[in-house]
């Protein structure tokens, strides 16, 4: 479902090596944690999957296609298949919570009926149905993060990427969100989650890919956040 072959990413002109010689296979339906210190390359890795960036070297296959060779016109259709919770949320500041979530359905030209049904449903899942009419700027950090999650899962994409989706949430709410992702995963969605939350990683017993300075230093089937504390 997602494959990376000898992928490197170097940011110019500063020549920052964000990723180096990454080889990775993620099957359909997997639940993968990506861990590693700040600046290790976790976000960069996810950006290569939904093609916010292209690798400097190597090939990335997503859903059976070499996305490093995608035409400009085809990119939106890739992105619609991948729901992303961005680390900095990337909500549209001038639109209500409702419209932010609805936007993910508008891009796939869903019918108004579908939108009216689906948006309240996902907002309810993240516990923000009563804030639908607010603008993102009127929500707390954790609430905004949950709106971002609602948008990511709104159109039932086959892949969900969550970059630090609990960074602004208390432990209790974090657990609820992770359970939600687990539930989605149980119904066949591939979930990739970059996180710093030791407790969650350790408790979930899922595959853990550990990055450090752009290298994969560990890839365990039922891993933990770190071997040595």
């Amino acid at each position: 479902m997602i494959e990376m072959h000898h992928v490197s990413k170097i940011y110019y002109p500063a020549r920052v090596v964000a990723l180096q010689d990454i080889n990775l296979f993620i099957e359909k339906g997997e639940f993968v944690f990506i861990v590693g210190p700040s600046g290790a390359g976790k976000s960069t890795l996810t950006k290569l999957i939904y093609r916010e960036d292209v690798p400097s070297e190597g090939r990335v296959f997503v859903l059976g296609k070499d996305i490093t060779r995608l035409r400009r016109r085809e990119i939106p259709f890739l992105r619609r298949k991948i729901g992303v919770v961005f680390q900095d949320f990337k909500l549209l500041p001038d639109r209500t919570v409702y419209d932010n979530v609805a936007f993910a359905l508008r891009v796939i030209e869903a019918s108004p009926r579908e939108i009216r049904k689906r948006v309240p449903a996902v907002l309810d899942l993240v516990g923000l149905l009563d804030r639908a009419r607010n603008l993102p700027g009127q929500l707390s950090g954790g609430e905004q993060q949950r709106v971002a999650l609602a948008r990511a899962i709104a159109n039932n994409p086959p892949i969900v990427i969550a970059d630090e989706p609990t960074g602004n949430l208390d432990p209790q709410t974090s657990w609820e969100i992770v359970c939600l992702l687990k539930e989605i995963n149980r119904f066949g969605t591939t979930v990739i989650m970059a996180t710093h939350d030791e407790k969650i990683v350790d408790a979930m017993q899922k595959r853990v890919i550990a990055l450090e300075r752009g290298h994969i230093v560990r890839d365990d089937e039922r891993g933990v956040y770190a071997h040595e504390a």
């Binding site: 059976g64 296609k65 990119i75 939106p76 259709f77 992105r79 298949k81 108004p112």
Partner: protein, 306 residues
């Protein structure tokens, strides 16, 4: 599975168009002050263009009407009888460019001279009984640059003794006409360009202000069309509104001005026909809409490469 060619070419659904139009209106409402800025900018630029257009049209019209008063005088050898006159007249009327021919007898000529020089009455009293003036044909010509040709043809006719026309005035006038036309065209062209640049600058600034939003939309999977069209529609609506506002203002204003001018300067030949005004107004509305649409389309382009 994803991003096949076929998907890339799927046209947008009808309901999506409705949504896009809604987006455009919502955006105009939300960015109220910015919309107002773009609207007034478009309106004002178009107004300047429109005022200049009307000015040029009127100047042209005035020069025309002065030209229409120009005439060639062909002095005849002797007074003509009815038959001779008719044949000469019809002959002159066939010369290309001639609009009207008028015979002036010797008596008429003296009367006119007397009128023209009211202070010199005593001179004319003296010459009354022995009128030294010649009969003449007054020939009116369509355009000032035709006059010299016509004059030449007239001069070669039998019975015509001498041809006279304000050669200098005619030459000046036809030069002025040419310069006015060229200058007016240049001015209108310059203003059209300025209007285009000013409006599209204003649109570009609005798009620029929303560049981060555009980037986010693209990341969520929006096609270029889905992002572009609300901007284009918004630009079109604002340009159209600006154009229509301008047209309305210009229409009312011009009619009022013409009426006022008629009272003060009844002799001034201003263009009053509604058809010219209609054309200018339609042109402004069309220009506004077109520039708004094109400006948006071009401006949004830069920000779609995300």
């Amino acid at each position: 599975m994803c991003g096949t060619m076929k998907e890339g070419f799927t046209p947008m659904k009808l309901r999506t168009w409705g949504y896009l139009l809604g987006e455009a209106f919502t955006s105009i409402r939300k960015n109220g002050l910015m919309s107002l800025a773009s609207f007034t900018t478009a309106g004002l630029s178009l107004l300047v263009l429109g005022v200049t257009l009307l000015l040029v049209v009127n100047l042209n019209h005035m020069v025309r009407s002065v030209e229409a008063q120009l005439e060639i005088v062909a002095y005849l050898e002797k007074e003509l009888n009815q038959g001779e006159l008719a044949s000469l007249k019809s002959q002159v009327e066939t010369i290309p460019g001639v609009v009207m021919v008028n015979y002036v007898s010797r008596d008429e000529a003296l009367d006119r001279l007397r009128e023209r020089l009211p202070d010199q009455t005593r001179v004319f009293d003296t010459v009354e009984e022995m009128n030294p003036l010649r009969p003449s044909l007054e020939v009116q010509v369509e355009k000032s640059d035709r006059i010299s040709e016509v004059a030449e043809v007239l001069g070669q006719m039998t019975m015509v003794e001498e041809v006279s026309y304000g050669r200098e005035v005619v030459e000046k006038l036809s030069k002025i006409t040419r310069i006015l036309n060229a200058g007016g065209l240049a001015l209108v062209g310059f203003l059209a360009l300025a209007t285009l640049l000013i409006i599209s600058n204003s649109v570009r600034l609005t798009v620029h202000a929303r560049r981060r939003e555009i980037a986010v939309m693209k990341l969520v999977g929006a096609t270029d069309s889905l992002i572009r069209w609300p901007f284009i529609l918004e630009g079109t609506i604002l340009g159209l509104a600006g154009g229509m506002g301008t047209a309305l203002l210009l229409w009312k204003g011009y009619l009022m001005l013409v009426e006022r001018l008629h009272q003060v300067l009844p002799f001034l030949p201003v263009v009053t026909g509604n058809d010219v005004l209609t054309q200018v107004c339609l042109l402004l509305v069309a220009t506004g809409a077109f520039i708004g649409a094109a400006g948006s389309a071009l401006s949004v382009r830069r920000y779609l490469r995300v």
